[in-house]
C-alpha cells in the first residue's frame, strides 16, 4: 500500500518534470527559430555563397563558381582595393585597440577613486557611448574640418602648427577616425573595467601594502593580474569591432584618403548598382572572418601566456 503511493508520487513527479521540459522547449522556441534563421543558417550560406556567382539584386540566379571568387578578390585587375582595405583596418586596429584599452582602464581607475562626485564623472564619461555613430561622425567631421574654422586646426594654431587637412590626408584620416571611436568606445569598456576593479579583493591589496609595496607595485602586481579577464574581453571585443569599421568611414571620409575598409568594400561589391558581385562580397566576408579569427586567437594565445606568467 505504502509502496504504491510512493510509486504514484514518483510517476507524478516525472510527469510534472516532463511537462516542464516540454514547456521549456516551447519557451525557447522563438529564440531558437530566430537563432537558426538569422545566425546559424547565414553562416553556412555565407560559405556556400562565397563559392557562387550571383547578384544581390537578383538573388534567384545562383551559379556555382568554385574558388574563383577567392582568387578574384585578390588578383582581379582593379581590385587591389580589397587587399588594401585589409591593411587599412589592421593599421586602424593597431592604433585603436591600445588607445581604447589604456584610456578605458585609466577612466575606470579615476572613477573608482573614493572621492566626492565620482558618480557624476562616470555619467559624463559614459555619454559618448550612447550616441548615434552617424551623429558623432557629423560632429567630428566638423571638428576635423580642413577649413580655418575647423576646431582642430584652431587648436594646433595655438601651438604654432600649420592647418592640416585632417580627413583628406592618407594615414592621418584613419588616425582621426581611431580617435573618434576611442572617444565613443571608452564608456562601455570603462564600465567593464570598473566592475573588474571593484572585484579585486581588498585584503590582497592591504597585504601587499603591509609588506611595503608602493602604489605602482600594487597596481602592476596585484590589480592588473586580477583584472586580466576584463582586459582579455575588452581587447577581443575591440579587435572584432575594429575589423568591421564602417559607419564612421562612410560618413566622415566616404572611404577616401586610405580609410577604405573591408566592410565598405563588401557593401559596394554587393549593393553598388554597377557591381553587384555578391559571390565575391561573400568571399570577402569569409576572408575577413578568417582574419578576425586569426587575430583574436593570437590575442588569446598571448593573454594565456601572460596569465601563466603570473600564476
Amino acid at each position: 500500500m505504502f509502496e504504491k503511493i510512493k510509486n504514484r508520487e514518483r510517476r507524478k513527479l516525472t510527469k510534472m518534470q516532463r511537462n516542464q521540459e516540454r514547456l521549456a522547449y516551447l519557451f525557447i522556441l522563438p529564440a531558437l527559430v530566430f537563432f537558426s534563421v538569422f545566425v546559424l543558417a547565414p553562416i553556412v550560406m555565407a560559405l556556400y555563397f562565397s563559392l557562387c556567382s550571383f547578384s544581390q539584386r537578383n538573388i534567384t540566379l545562383i551559379e556555382w563558381a568554385g574558388f574563383k571568387n577567392y582568387v578574384d578578390i585578390f588578383t582581379a585587375p582593379g581590385l587591389k582595393s580589397f587587399r588594401e582595405s585589409l591593411w587599412h583596418v589592421l593599421y586602424y586596429a593597431v592604433m585603436y585597440v591600445p588607445m581604447v584599452v589604456v584610456m578605458s582602464l585609466l577612466f575606470a581607475v579615476l572613477i573608482n577613486q573614493k572621492i566626492r562626485g565620482a558618480k557624476a564623472f562616470r555619467i559624463m564619461y559614459y555619454i559618448p557611448s550612447i550616441t548615434s555613430g552617424v551623429a558623432v561622425s557629423f560632429i567630428f567631421q566638423f571638428l576635423f574640418s580642413a577649413a580655418d574654422y575647423g576646431l582642430m586646426n584652431v587648436v594646433i594654431g595655438w601651438f604654432g602648427g600649420k592647418p592640416l587637412n585632417w580627413l583628406g590626408t592618407e594615414g592621418l584620416a584613419m588616425f582621426c577616425i581611431a580617435l573618434v571611436n576611442v572617444w565613443g568606445g571608452i564608456g562601455g569598456n570603462m564600465i567593464i573595467y570598473l566592475a573588474a576593479l571593484q572585484g579585486v579583493p581588498p585584503d590582497q591589496v592591504e597585504a601587499a601594502r603591509v609588506d611595503g609595496a608602493n602604489k605602482r607595485q600594487i597596481f602592476v602586481h596585484i590589480t592588473l593580474p586580477q583584472i586580466a579577464q576584463a582586459t582579455f574581453f575588452v581587447v577581443m571585443m575591440s579587435l572584432i569591432g575594429s575589423f568591421q569599421l564602417y559607419d564612421q568611414v562612410k560618413i566622415m571620409t566616404g572611404g577616401g584618403s586610405g580609410t577604405n575598409t573591408p566592410v565598405f568594400q563588401i557593401y559596394m561589391m554587393a549593393f553598388d548598382p554597377g557591381s553587384s558581385k555578391s559571390g565575391m562580397a561573400n568571399a570577402m566576408a569569409v576572408v575577413l572572418f578568417a582574419v578576425i579569427m586569426i587575430v583574436t586567437s593570437l590575442n588569446n594565445f598571448l593573454q594565456n601566456k601572460i596569465n601563466a606568467k603570473y600564476e
Binding site: F27, Y149, K250
Partner: protein, 290 residues
C-alpha cells in the same frame, strides 16, 4: 641615518587635499574632452550662419538663431515618415527582445530540460561572431521573405538577440529558485510563474536591456542601408546620412547638419538622463557576474 616617520595630522591632511585636487583636475580635463563635442554641435546649430564660419572662432555664441533647424526641416521632406518608422522599428524590436529574450533567459536559468547547457553554449559562442559574415545571407533570407523595403526587415534579424538572452539569464539567476517552487506546489502554470513571479523581479535588468536595444535599433545604419536601400521606408540614420552627403560639403549647411545630429541624438540622451542611475549600476552588476 634612518629618517623617522612622524605622524603629522596637518601634513597628512594637506597631502590628501593636494592629491584630491590633482585627481579632480585630471577628471575635469577628461570630462571637458568627452562633453565638448556635444557643446560644440549645440552652439553651432543655434548660432547664426555667419558666426559658424567666422574666423577667429569664438567659443561662445553671440547671436541666436533657429535658421539651421529651419533649414534642416525644409530640406528634409520625409522627416516625419522616417521618424515614425524609426520609432516603430525601435519599439517593436525593443519589446520582442525584452519578452522573448526574457522568456528564453528565464528558461535557461530556471527550468530543467535536456540539451540546456549545449544549446546555451552554442548561442553564447555566436556572440563572438562578427556580424559581417552573416549580414549578406541575412539580406538574402529577408529578400526571399519578400521583406526588402519593409520596416520588419530591420527588426527581424536582431528581434531575439543572443546578447539579451544571456543578459537576462544573469538576472533570473539572482531571483531565488524557491520563489518558483512555492508557486509550483500551489499549482501555478509554468508561464504564469515566469510572467507573474519572475518577470516583475528583474525590472532593473529589463530597463537596462531596454536601453541597450533601443540604442542599437535607433542608431543602426549598415543593415538599414541594405534592406531599405529601395522603397519609401527610411530610418532617420539613413536620411541624415543622405542629407550630409548632399549638403554636408556646403559651408552654409554646417549648422543644419549639426541640427540633424542633435535631433537624432536627443531621444537616447533623454532616456539616459532619466534612467542613468539604474542603467550604470545594472551594467556594472552584469559585468561583475560575467
Amino acid at each position: 641615518m634612518v629618517k623617522e616617520k612622524i605622524y603629522n595630522p596637518r601634513k597628512e591632511k594637506a597631502l590628501k587635499i593636494i592629491k584630491n585636487t590633482v585627481i579632480y583636475i585630471i577628471m575635469i580635463f577628461f570630462a571637458v574632452i568627452m562633453l565638448f563635442p556635444f557643446y560644440w554641435s549645440i552652439i553651432t546649430a543655434i548660432r547664426p550662419w555667419e558666426e559658424v564660419l567666422q574666423v577667429p572662432v569664438s567659443f561662445i555664441p553671440h547671436g541666436f538663431s533657429f535658421q539651421s533647424f529651419k533649414n534642416f526641416f525644409s530640406l528634409m521632406d520625409n522627416f516625419g515618415s522616417a521618424l515614425g518608422y524609426t520609432i516603430l522599428i525601435t519599439i517593436v524590436g525593443m519589446f520582442t527582445n525584452l519578452f522573448f529574450g526574457g522568456l528564453a533567459g528565464y528558461t535557461f536559468a530556471r527550468l530543467q530540460f535536456r540539451g540546456r547547457k549545449i544549446i546555451f553554449r552554442i548561442m553564447l559562442m555566436s556572440l563572438m561572431l562578427p556580424t559581417i559574415v552573416t549580414i549578406l545571407p541575412q539580406y538574402y533570407i529577408i529578400a526571399k521573405m519578400g521583406l526588402v523595403g519593409n520596416w520588419l526587415a530591420v527588426v527581424l534579424p536582431g528581434a531575439v538577440g543572443v546578447y539579451g538572452i544571456f543578459f537576462m539569464r544573469q538576472f533570473f539567476y539572482g531571483v531565488p529558485a524557491a520563489l518558483g517552487e512555492a508557486a509550483r506546489i500551489d499549482g501555478a502554470g509554468e508561464f504564469r510563474i515566469f510572467w507573474q513571479i519572475y518577470f516583475p523581479q528583474v525590472t532593473s535588468g529589463l530597463i537596462t536591456l531596454g536601453i541597450i536595444t533601443f540604442n542599437s535599433y535607433w542608431n543602426s545604419y549598415l543593415w538599414p542601408s541594405m534592406v531599405l536601400l529601395t522603397g519609401d521606408v527610411k530610418m532617420l540614420s539613413l536620411l541624415l546620412g543622405d542629407f550630409q552627403q548632399l549638403y554636408g560639403a556646403l559651408p552654409d549647411s554646417v549648422g543644419s547638419v549639426m541640427a540633424g545630429a542633435i535631433i537624432i541624438m536627443l531621444p537616447s540622451l533623454i532616456i539616459f538622463a532619466f534612467l542613468q542611475k539604474y542603467f550604470l549600476n545594472t551594467v556594472t552588476f552584469a559585468g561583475v557576474k560575467e
